[in-house]
Each structure stands twice: as structure tokens, then as C-alpha cells.
């Protein structure tokens, strides 16, 4: 058996070296290291850190949940309309699982939260779209998702799973890339304010300089969206159940919820509308969300206010609007929040 012990010893040694490298370089920002530049932002981790930090300083009473399409909504617009402090907890590629996990985490950690603004991407009801590794590897949110926030055992399991899943060639290639980038860090594509608001420094600089390749960004984004909608033909029961849980758990604590569907760029919206299957599916999502509206606790934001944006060229691609449009959307949503709080449902489309 001496050979076996030697073999296992070597495995342990090699794995230890690899895991240490992964943790130190941390190219996807899932672990603790920060010395080397990140190749991709783990927004679930980052927003969680920012949120925890905001609790220690100025706890928000409203939280914005959703995907990247919610992530640049300015919280100060919400504050100016409602008088309350908001935090933007939108994360990249949010699924319904993310929405539920974040809501549960927020409700568990911040008892004074009274408003949730939940941006729902229509395709997130697709049964084929499951929780991403960024969620399942996130100790904070994945424990919240299964209702065990702060369970040390569950946290340990999630962290161990994250390390195990990082033992791949692709992850290792990212480690190498990150180390290589350390000498000449590339210009960051994204940054975040303390309130969790997404900024696009690189794209904004290119747009100012007139070098932003809008066509290319639009085409790439549109292709992904069209393929996401291609095989999506019904709203998964499990996803609806998750959103129902979010609504019932939040409203049971007296929290107001504003549901909304982030708009597409008008060109993509027209193209999707031209496809009957997609368009019918979109309508199914809209009518499902409307069916969940129970004013004043659960409302659906005015679609005209969030879909008709003032700046037609204020888009980064087929679905991400810029800060000028973000202010208008935020204003519309903040008005819905305020009116829900005061019982005025005139500006709220609970149709």
C-alpha cells in the first residue's frame, strides 16, 4: 500500500498547489485573493460585499433586484422621488433563482427593507436556464436560496464545491491570463459605485471618443437574445413557483414589491415582435406578472414609463441602456414605489 499512500500524497500536494494558486490569483473573484486583476466580475460576490458594507453604514430601505439590465438604475433617483435609501443588488445574468436568493438574503439581513424593485427578464422563466455557478458557488446567496443563511456547514459545503469546480483547464487558463494581465492591466469594462450601480467606463469613453462599435455590440447581443428565445416556449412551473415564493415571503413581512420587465432596444423589440412564437411567449410573461399584482403590496410598473425611453441612441447594445435612459426608467420605477407606498395606484399598471 506504500505506493498508494505516495500516490495520494502527491495528489494532495499537486491539488494543494493548484487550489492555492486559484485562491490567490482568483481570476473570477470567487475566492479571497485580490492581488491579480479579475478577468470576470463575480457580481454576486461583489454586490453581496457592498450590501453588507452598506448595512454597517447606512442601511437601505429599498433594494433593486434583477439582471444587468437593472444594474445601472441610479439609486439617487429613487431617493429623490421616495425619500428612501436604495441599494442596487442587480447581478449579471440573473435568473429567478438569483432573484429569490437575493430577496431572501436581503430580508434576512436587513429587516428594515420595505421596498423591492424586481426586474424580470422574460427568458428567465425558461426551464432550460438554471442557476449559474456564480450563484451555486456563492456561500452567501446559495445558503439564502435554500433557506439556511449563516449555516456554517452549508457555507463550508458551498465553498468546497466552488474550489472543486474551479479545478478545470478553463479556470487554470484564467489564472495564467490574470497573472499575465498583472503587468499590464486592461481597462476595466465595468465598475460599481458603493450603492451597487453599474458603470461602463470603457464603453462610455469610447462613445465619447466616437470609437464605440455599436453595430458590433448590437449584433452580438441580438444573436444571443434570439437564440435564448428560440427554444423557449413555456413558462416553467418551477420558476413561477420561485417568483411566487419571493412575493409571498416579502409581502408576509409587509414589503412592497414593484415588478417590471426591462425593455429591449426598439430594434430588437421589433425583430422579436415579428416572430409570433416569441411574441406570444413574451405576452405570457407579461400576463403572468400582471396576474401576480396585488396593489398596493405587489404592483407592476407602468410599461410605458419603462419601455419608451427618452434617448433613442442611449444604448450600449440590444438590451442595455445607458445612464440617460437609466434615469428615466428609475424615475418611472421610483414613482411606482412611492405610489404603492402611499396607496396611489394611478401610475401603477396593475392591469
Amino acid at each position: 500500500m506504500r505506493f498508494l499512500w505516495a500516490f495520494l500524497g502527491w495528489i494532495g500536494l499537486f491539488a494543494g498547489v493548484l487550489l492555492t494558486a486559484l485562491a490567490v490569483v482568483n481570476p473570477r473573484r470567487e475566492f479571497s485573493g485580490t492581488r491579480f486583476p479579475a478577468l470576470q466580475l463575480d457580481t454576486r460576490q461583489l454586490k453581496g460585499d457592498l450590501f453588507d458594507s452598506s448595512l454597517a453604514h447606512e442601511p437601505p430601505s429599498g433594494v433593486i433586484i434583477g439582471s444587468s439590465r437593472s444594474m445601472n438604475l441610479p439609486t439617487d433617483e429613487f431617493t429623490s422621488v421616495t425619500g428612501e435609501r436604495f441599494f442596487n443588488f442587480g447581478v449579471f445574468n440573473a435568473t429567478i433563482e438569483d432573484d429569490l436568493a437575493i430577496a431572501r438574503y436581503v430580508l434576512a439581513k436587513a429587516p428594515n427593507v420595505r421596498n423591492l424593485v424586481v426586474g424580470i427578464d422574460p427568458q428567465s422563466f425558461d426551464a432550460h436556464i438554471g442557476p449559474l455557478p456564480e450563484l451555486t458557488h456563492n456561500a452567501r446567496l446559495s445558503t439564502a436560496l435554500d433557506g439556511s443563511v449563516d449555516s456554517p456547514l452549508k457555507r463550508a459545503i458551498v465553498i468546497a464545491r466552488a474550489y472543486r469546480d474551479a479545478l478545470t483547464v478553463a479556470y487554470l487558463a484564467d489564472v495564467v491570463k490574470s497573472v499575465r494581465n498583472a503587468a499590464h492591466p486592461p481597462e476595466p469594462a465595468y465598475s460599481f459605485s458603493a450603492e451597487g450601480i453599474l458603470q461602463y467606463p470603457k464603453a462610455d469613453r469610447e462613445r465619447r471618443a466616437g470609437t464605440y462599435n455599436w453595430q458590433q455590440h448590437y449584433a452580438g447581443c441580438a444573436a444571443v437574445q434570439q437564440s435564448e428565445f428560440a427554444n423557449y416556449d413555456s413558462l416553467a412551473t418551477s420558476k413561477r413557483a420561485m417568483l411566487d415564493s419571493l412575493i409571498s415571503e416579502a409581502t408576509a413581512r409587509g414589503v412592497h414589491i414593484v415588478l417590471w420587465i426591462p425593455p429591449f432596444n426598439p430594434a430588437l423589440a421589433d425583430s422579436l415582435r415579428g416572430k409570433p412564437a416569441i411574441s406570444a411567449n413574451y405576452e405570457r410573461v407579461v400576463s403572468y406578472l400582471r396576474s401576480r399584482a396585488r396593489p398596493p403590496l405587489v404592483t407592476m410598473a407602468d410599461e410605458d414609463g419603462t419601455a419608451n425611453l427618452p434617448n433613442p441612441t442611449g444604448w450600449y447594445d440590444c438590451m442595455h441602456f445607458d445612464s440617460t435612459n437609466a434615469v428615466a426608467v428609475a424615475h418611472s420605477l421610483a414613482t411606482a414605489v412611492r405610489d404603492a407606498g402611499t396607496g396611489n395606484t394611478e401610475t401603477v399598471a396593475a392591469r
Binding site: M1, R2, F3, L4, A6, F7, L8, G9, W10, I11, L13, F14, A15, L18, R164, D165, L167, T168, V169, L172
Partner: protein
């Protein structure tokens, strides 16, 4: 459960290995391995275990019954009974719908309105393999080649041995009997080293080479099969054919290496299944080197049973064709497999006829000819329909007509095929490796395992032969 999965590598295998070497005595180890086999098998679907147990009990009891009688006619009756039960099970689960569909077509041809009903049958994984295990056992007992075991735990261990239960090698009881009898021995460090070496090499073959080639050609062939693309280009057709040739070899021989390695970890020597088959000189030689355990099984239990080459040339060729057609059908219930078997039957006959001529070829030419013929055969083996096979072959041989020699969208696959072909041409077969068994080799095996794991982790890629 598949060998290249976290649950097997980090839960099932360590637990079974640990308990095996902690347990004392034959009986404990038999029981442990038998239970492990059923857990391994039941991981797919627990209902499959009932069939496995039934088949094992029938053959075990038959073995005792044959052993307990002197009457030749009774021995024969027991043998026919047990083989019939095994073949009925295999026939029903694997071939019923195929036969029913073709019978329906035939009846329709004769304007008979009766259509046999198609049934929703789930094919129990590995049934073709363990059926051959149990048949070989009762035939060997009946022929006096092996004495029936009276230890049901030992017999269950043999049939349900997880290392070779699902996709072979097809191990005969007599090949493993001696090791089973000495299963209570102490661990041998050199065998454990060899076992780890085999396993790591098999894992590398599977997850690094076979799976990367599969990632390049499987989507292409799936698109072609479902009609998303109407025709393969010349380049695509050859890339897919060569790619599948390499993928199948590295996948199946990788699996076999892992099975052999696992056997060594439990002090059981599982026989060789591959011997550099793509370097064969002729199709006869190919079948002595490819899936050796199946070839030998078909030879010993079918070909020789039919009379082999003892009844004249014509009858020999008829026997060869019967064996190859049934061998093809054994792989799957489809005409593509029957044609693949028939194609190899014809090649075997031609090879026998012209062997004196071919022998005079330069070896490299004979080898290349054999390889090319095998590659063409794999087209039938891989195609999901005769139409697909015909279209694929047409694309391989019509470059002048299509004037389109474009390659698959994933050019990386060409690199992997190149690596695979280099390994096939120049590297030794795993059985010819001299695995170091001293501790200084442990680091190399560990590094190999970890590299393979980095490629494997997060993927779910069953072995190709699991479907047979």
C-alpha cells in the same frame, strides 16, 4: 455511475476500495464486491438490478444442475434452457421493437393489416455484456472447461463486477477464477501501482483525447442526422469519419484500460481488450486486436459452434458471415449495425481469399488499406440511419462533384485528430507500457491523474460503448 465522474472517483471507489482491504476472508470480499456491483449498476436505475440478479441466478443454478448430472442429454437440456432464458431477455429488451417495426414493414409489404405493437422498453445498460458473461459460464460448465462454483457470492461477484459489468471486457469465468479464489490475499503494492497506471492512462485517453474529438464531431453529425445541415462537405465527411475512428478507439480502449486498472486495485486481472488495432495487417488481424474479448467470445461460442472452418471453404465463409452479422446486431438493434457486421464479414472473406497477395504488399500499404477499410466501416457504425450512412459516404467520395472541401466549424478538432493519429501510429498500446511500480513513479501517475481531472471536471461524458 461512470468511471469519469466525481461520485465514482471520490465516493464510490474509495469506499469500496477501503472496505475491500479492511475486510477479511473470501466471503466478505465477495459479498462486498457483489453489493458494490449492484450499487454501481443500480445508480442508473434500480430496476435493472432485478434483471441482473435474475440472469445471475438462472446461470448459477444451471451451472450447479449441469455439474450435478452425468446425463449428456440433461446437461444439454439445462444448457439450452439457460441460454434461451438469457437470449430471450436480451432479445426482448434490446430487439423487440426492432423486430416489431421490421415485421410491420414486411406485413405491410404483403398487405397484411396486423401491426405488432411497439413497446416502451428501456434498454437495461450493459445487458449485452452480462448476458455474454452468463452464457459463457454455462457453456463452459457444460463443456467441462470450468467447474461450476457452489459459492453464490463468488458467482455474483463475477457477473456484477463493477469494473467490467457495463461495457466489458467480456471476461470468462475461467479467466478470472484463479484470482477470485485468491481474493483473500494481502494487497500487492505492485498491482496497485499497475492498476493506478492503467486507470490514469485510460482516463487520459477518454477525457482528453476522445472527448475533445467528440466535442468537435458530435455536433456536426447530430446536425447532419437531424437534417439541420443537408449534406456534409468532403472535408467534413472525412474529418467526421477519421474523428469518429479515433474517438471510438480512445473512448473504448480508455474504458477498457480503466476496467483493467480497477481490476488490479482489487487483485483481479482482467484480460486485454485492445492490441493496437489500427496497426493491423488485414481485417483478420484487426479482429484479433479490436475488442478482443468480444472477438474471442464470438469465435469460441458461435463460430466454432457453427462448425468453424472444419466443414469446407464455403461453409467457413457462411459461418464467418453469420458470426459477423450477429456480431453487428449485438452492438445495436439497427440495420446500420447489421450492415457494418456484414461489411466486415465480406472483408474477412476477401482477406482470407487474397491473403497470399496482400502478404506481398509492403507492410505500410497493407496497414493503410486495412485502416481505410475500417474507417469506412465506422461510418455505418456511427450513422443513425442508412440514409445518413449513404449520404456521409457519398460526401467522402465526391469531392470533385461538390467542389466544397470545407472543414468543420471547430478547427481545433483537426489538432486533436492529429494527436490521436500520431498516438495510434507511434505510441505503444497501454498493455505494452512498462508501468513503474516503485514509489518514485507515484508523482508521475498523480500528475497524470490531476491533468486528466482538470479536463474531466464539470463534464458528463458517458462511454460510447455504454449504449451497446
Amino acid at each position: 455511475m461512470i468511471f469519469n465522474s466525481n461520485v465514482f472517483l471520490f465516493a464510490f471507489l474509495p469506499v469500496v476500495f477501503g472496505l475491500f482491504w479492511l475486510s477479511k476472508g473470501k466471503q466478505q470480499r465477495y459479498v462486498l464486491l457483489a453489493i458494490a456491483g449492484y450499487v454501481f449498476y443500480g445508480y442508473w436505475d434500480w430496476r435493472f438490478c432485478i434483471l441482473l440478479a435474475f440472469s445471475s441466478i438462472v446461470s448459477f443454478v444451471t451451472g450447479l444442475a449441469i455439474d450435478g448430472t452425468e446425463s449428456r442429454s440433461r446437461k444439454r437440456a439445462w444448457l439450452i434452457g439457460a441460454v434461451s432464458v438469457d437470449l430471450t431477455l436480451l432479445g426482448f429488451f434490446k430487439y423487440y421493437n426492432f423486430v416489431a417495426a421490421n415485421l410491420g414493414i414486411a406485413l405491410d409489404w404483403f398487405n397484411v393489416r396486423a401491426q405488432p405493437a411497439a413497446l416502451h422498453i428501456v434498454l437495461p445498460i450493459g445487458i449485452s455484456f452480462y448476458t455474454f458473461h452468463t452464457i459463457s459460464y454455462v457453456v463452459d460448465v457444460a463443456n467441462g472447461r470450468v467447474k461450476a462454483t457452489r459459492n453464490i457470492a463468488e458467482y455474483f461477484t463475477y457477473v456484477s463486477l463493477f469494473s467490467q459489468l457495463v461495457a466489458g471486457p467480456i471476461v470468462r469465468y475461467r479467466q478470472i477464477e484463479a484470482d477470485l479464489e485468491q481474493i483473500d490475499g494481502p494487497p500487492r503494492s505492485d498491482w496497485i501501482a499497475i492498476g493506478i497506471g492503467f486507470f490514469v492512462v485510460g482516463l487520459i485517453k477518454k477525457v482528453i483525447i476522445a472527448d475533445h474529438i467528440g466535442a468537435g464531431i458530435d455536433p456536426l453529425l447530430a446536425s447532419y442526422a437531424n437534417g439541420s445541415i443537408h449534406a456534409l462537405t468532403f472535408g467534413q465527411a472525412w474529418t467526421a469519419a477519421l474523428g469518429y475512428t479515433c474517438q471510438l478507439y480512445f473512448d473504448f480502449s480508455g474504458y477498457s484500460d480503466m476496467a483493467v486498472g480497477l481490476g488490479y486495485l482489487f487483485s483481479l486481472r482482467i484480460p486485454q481488450n485492445f492490441d493496437a488495432p489500427y496497426r493491423s495487417l488485414g481485417i483478420q488481424d484487426f479482429w484479433r486486436r479490436w475488442h478482443i474479448s468480444l472477438s474471442m467470445w464470438l469465435r469460441d461460442y458461435l463460430y466454432i459452434g457453427l462448425g468453424g472452418n472444419r466443414k469446407g471453404k464455403r461453409r467457413t465463409y457462411v459461418n464467418v458471415m453469420i458470426v459477423m452479422l450477429l456480431g453487428g446486431l449485438w452492438h445495436g438493434a439497427g440495420w446500420t449495425f447489421v450492415i457494418w457486421g456484414g461489411y466486415h464479414g465480406v472483408l474477412l472473406i476477401i482477406d482470407r481469399w487474397f491473403h497470399p497477395v496482400f502478404k506481398r504488399y509492403p507492410a505500410i500499404l497493407y496497414r493503410a488499406q486495412t485502416f481505410a477499410l475500417v474507417v469506412i466501416g465506422w461510418v455505418f457504425f456511427r450513422a443513425t440511419s442508412l440514409r445518413m450512412a449513404a449520404g456521409w459516404l457519398r460526401s467522402m467520395f465526391t469531392v470533385g462533384l461538390s467542389r466544397d472541401a470545407s472543414l468543420p466549424a471547430a478547427p481545433m478538432v483537426l489538432g486533436w485528430i492529429g494527436i490521436a493519429l500520431f498516438a495510434i501510429a507511434f505510441l505503444p498500446e497501454t498493455w505494452n507500457f512498462k508501468f513503474g511500480t516503485t514509489r518514485r513513479w507515484a508523482g508521475l501517475y498523480a500528475a497524470g491523474f490531476l491533468v486528466a481531472y482538470l479536463f474531466m471536471n464539470g463534464t458528463n461524458s458517458p462511454f460510447l460503448y455504454y449504449q451497446f
